[in-house]
């Protein structure tokens, strides 16, 4: 068979080669899938990532605690009046990642700030009550967050994310 004839008119042989190659390719791709899929979290890890409940009653005003959910530190701050006012006084449009404070807390529970305590720059854990904005300061590369966990200074591109949570009672939240 010459190249010219195969280009113009597919023969049975071409079809056979293409079909064999196609089945082999599909088989190879399907075989590869389990080897990739196994890298994802296994069933026990997924199950262990179920929601957790946190009792807020022992946390005094001005204090904050750190709990772990899915291996991530969650900061829960009992904010003072002053901190809340600071968070609300800033002009939102001037922020690097504009977001009003009331979009980051649950209404009626403004004293509670719940954020994932992982710097949005490269994943270090910021220190509470440090930095120029009375919020959080990341020691790795100098990102500064305010009392609402919003980025104010430094290389981090975004605010500290708020995890999914809800108040099950006035003194208890469920994270996740």
């Amino acid at each position: 068979m010459t190249t010219a004839s195969s280009a113009e008119q597919p023969t049975r042989r071409d079809f056979l080669y293409v079909a064999t190659g196609a089945v082999a390719a599909v088989g190879a791709v399907a075989t590869a899938w389990p080897f990739i899929s196994q890298m994802n979290p296994d069933a026990s890890t997924v199950a262990a990532g179920a929601p957790i409940e946190v009792d807020l009653s022992p946390i005094a005003e001005g204090q904050d605690i750190k709990v772990f959910w899915r291996g991530k530190p969650i900061f829960i701050s009992h904010r003072t009046k002053k901190q809340i006012e600071e968070a609300r006084a800033v002009q939102v449009s001037s922020l690097p990642d504009p977001q009003p404070d009331d979009a980051r807390v649950k209404s009626g529970h403004e004293q509670w700030l719940v954020v994932i305590g992982i710097c949005t720059h490269l994943g270090c854990i910021p220190i509470a009550h440090e930095g120029a904005y009375d919020g959080f300061f990341c020691p790795c590369h100098g990102s500064v967050y305010d009392t609402s966990g919003r980025i104010r200074q430094g290389p981090a591109p975004a605010n500290l994310p708020v995890p999914p949570y809800q108040f099950v009672s006035d003194t208890k939240i469920q994270i996740g």
Binding site: A19, T20, V23, P34, F35, Q38, D42, A43
Partner: protein
């Protein structure tokens, strides 16, 4: 003649740089600096391969394929495995249960080891039959023996890693072989163990070496292939390629043939992975390692059985060990022991017969290796051990002197032209012999099990049996109820989390039902902020709590026998199937020994032991329990558990339901395994038939 002619190919392949020239400028640029494309081209494309090779020659490619599979699945399993004496067994179980496709990867790796050895034995016997070890291929053959030794070491250490009973005692027995060394034996064994017995340090170093050795194997395989490409391939006629007419280019001729062979081999491989994953394994290895109790019959994996038989047939410790290693080392000297000038046994009437006798000797040695070392088995073992060594040390040297070979063809091309229908006969006999050999090897481990069990459990018709079997949801739910209300008082189910009850292919509860069920249990958690442990209601992610906090307390509360955890009990128990039943089991896809035994055991209690049987104080008579004296009192009685669905509340029904539930508990992904197996079979059968026709098309021009 072999001497002179063998250099023809060498000149063609190896002299000077390859004449391959890539056309793309980038490839040209690379090729001038690193001629890797030329190397690839001359090794795997232009490389002349004898045109008369039969399908036994595809096993080289099949072995490369298996090595690659073992390395890839092994690397992936190592991502999830924990090499620690306290955690290894559980980590393997959690791979199978929780990791995405973990059951598939584990089956591929465990069955893959057996398939690798099956292929290497066929490859070695092929070399033996066609004289592929003879000049100028001695180094090629010796490299092969080195690969085989490395494979044995790797396979052994891999078998230790799941840290089950057979792992532990296999490790103990094999490392103790070195205690036979005079003067330094004990010191060597202590050095191997990293302790005074097999323990955590041993497991850790075995894991490290099990990861290392496959890469060494891959390295020696490169040398093996290199040596092959220097000498050129042997062929069924055993005459060297002389002219272009004797050979075809490796690609596409050998490539497509190898692909077809590998695809057919993959069908067998897939059958084991998806339908008989435990057929080649040992039930005892589903019992976690226990340094205080040796299983009644310890047997190695099937691929070591012939050598194990040789070891046991020699009544002296050191001599036995020397004989066992000697049985492998003798292969190194094969090129000089067999000095006959004719390579292929096709033209050696006597050597051909002795070859098949030798194959039978190996198979029978394998069978004996799985039998208890007593009576007639020992005598037979000694005779066969003698035959094994006699083949190499007496028969082959003698045949070289006295045998008058038939004339060999002038050239490979002549051999191809002279080919008639007569060739089919040896092929068929080979296939039959190897099928019998494989089946005998494979099943002989089963027949080693507890010979004292006289009453065979009746075969129950299970809904989960067969290639399309599924669990009966109703039976699983009833079985869970029996477990909770009866078994759970003494037996744990520690590998099952509540969430599993809602998994696909399980009892089919909803998430809400599972949460409610979990909340009925009190689970220990902590420490809390005060540093104290506390109890809380169970959650879906928690595992079934065990009735006793530790084994000692379980033992003390149950008359000295700790009730075993039931998570794996249907896989950890079995009974003797015997010859030839285990061969039929392979074809009928029977693998329900465990459930059959368990269901029989639960109804096998008798208040009055039969005449002649004495049952010690605190034990009970059971028809099916090995030795008949079981510490567990009759657990079930009619009407004990109420069923909501109108099923009969009899002991028989309870026994079947709880066994079905425990079968699911032992393999929660069984339905997924069989479902995926069917899909894989469809693809593999399609691929194999397409490859067959492609191969025919490609070869049509070569004949």
């Amino acid at each position: 003649m072999p001497v002179a002619s063998s250099y023809f190919l060498q000149d063609r392949i190896m002299s000077g740089p390859s004449d391959y020239q890539p056309s793309h400028p980038v490839l040209k640029w690379i090729e001038r600096r690193l001629p890797i494309l030329g190397l690839m081209h001359s090794s795997f494309v232009a490389y002349p391969t004898p045109r008369n090779l039969n399908y036994w020659w595809t096993f080289g490619a099949i072995l490369s394929f298996m090595l690659a599979i073992q390395i890839v699945t092994g690397i992936v399993l190592a991502m999830h495995y924990t090499p620690h004496a306290d955690l290894a067994f559980r980590s393997v179980e959690l791979i199978v249960r929780d990791v995405n496709y973990g059951w598939l990867l584990r089956n591929m790796h465990a069955v893959g080891a057996s398939m690798f050895f099956l292929a290497v034995y066929i490859h070695m016997f092929r070399g033996l039959y066609y004289g592929s070890y003879k000049e100028p291929r001695e180094v090629l053959w010796i490299l092969g023996v080195i690969i085989y030794l490395l494979m044995m070491a790797t396979g052994f250490m891999g078998y230790v890693l799941p840290w089950g009973q057979m792992s532990f005692w296999g490790a103990t027995v094999i490392t103790n072989l070195f205690s036979a060394v005079p003067f330094f034996g004990e010191d060597i064994v202590t050095l191997l163990w990293g302790g005074y017995s097999v323990g955590n340090p041993t497991l850790n170093r075995f894991f490290s070496l099990h990861y290392l050795l496959p890469f060494l194997i891959a390295g020696v395989v490169v040398l093996h292939v290199w040596a092959l490409h220097v000498a050129g391939q042997n062929n069924p006629a055993g005459v060297e390629a002389k002219t272009e007419k004797d050979t075809v280019p490796f690609t596409p001729y050998a490539t497509i043939k190898d692909l077809f062979g590998a695809s057919c081999f993959a069908i067998l491989y897939a059958y084991f992975i998806f339908y008989m994953p435990n057929y080649l394994g040992e039930a005892d290895n589903y019992i976690p390692a226990n340094p205080g109790v040796t299983p009644p019959h310890i047997v190695p994996e099937w691929y070591y059985l012939p050598f194990y038989a040789i070891l046991r047939s020699i009544p002296n410790k050191l001599a036995g060990v020397v004989a066992m290693f000697g049985a492998i080392i003798v292969l190194v000297f094969l090129p000089w022991l067999d000095s006959a000038r004719t390579r292929s046994s096709k033209y050696r009437p006597l050597a051909k017969q002795f070859f098949w006798i030798f194959v039978a000797v190996c198979v029978l040695l394998g069978y004996l290796g799985a039998q208890p070392a007593e009576g007639i088995y020992v005598i037979a073992g000694r005779i066969l051990t003698f035959c094994y060594f006699a083949y190499f040390l007496i028969v082959l040297p003698l045949l070289a002197r006295i045998e008058k070979p038939r004339p060999v063809p002038n050239s490979i091309a002549d051999d191809v032209l002279a080919k008639t229908g007569s060739k089919a006969t040896p092929m068929v006999s080979t296939v039959i012999a190897l099928a019998v050999a494989g089946a005998l090897f494979a099943g002989s481990t089963d027949s080693a099990r507890a010979s004292e069990r006289v009453d065979t459990p009746p075969a129950v018709k299970w809904s989960f049996a067969g290639p399309f079997g599924t669990f009966d949801r109703g039976a699983l739910q009833r079985g869970l109820k029996v477990y909770k209300e009866v078994c759970a008082n003494c037996h744990g189910l520690s590998y099952i989390a509540f969430r599993n009850l809602a998994d696909q292919g399980g009892p089919g509860y909803s998430t809400a039902q599972v949460n409610a069920l979990a909340a009925e249990y009190k689970v220990k958690d902590g420490p809390n902020d005060q540093g104290e442990m506390f109890e809380r209601p169970g959650r879906a992610a928690d595992y079934f709590p065990s009735p006793f906090p530790n084994e000692q307390m379980a033992r003390a509360a149950n008359g000295g026998a700790a009730p075993p955890d039931l998570s794996l009990i249907t896989k950890a128990r079995s009974y003797k199937r015997g010859f030839p039943t285990f061969i039929f089991d392979f074809f009928s896809n029977y693998q329900e020994q465990g459930p059959d035994y368990l269901a029989a055991l639960l109804v096998g209690f008798e208040d009055e032991p039969p005449a002649g049987a004495t049952i010690p104080e605190g034990s009970y008579y059971n028809k099916y329990f090995p030795g008949h004296a079981i510490k567990m009192p009759r657990p079930l009685s009619d009407g004990q558990v109420t069923y909501d669905d109108g099923s009969p509340t009899t002991v028989e029904q309870y026994a079947k339901d709880v066994t079905a539930f425990l079968m699911w508990a032992a393999e929660p992904h069984m339905e997924a395994r069989k479902r995926l197996g069917f899909q894989v079979f469809v693809v593999l059968l399609l691929l194999s038939s397409l490859l067959y026709f492609t191969k025919k098309k490609v070869w049509a021009g070569a004949h």
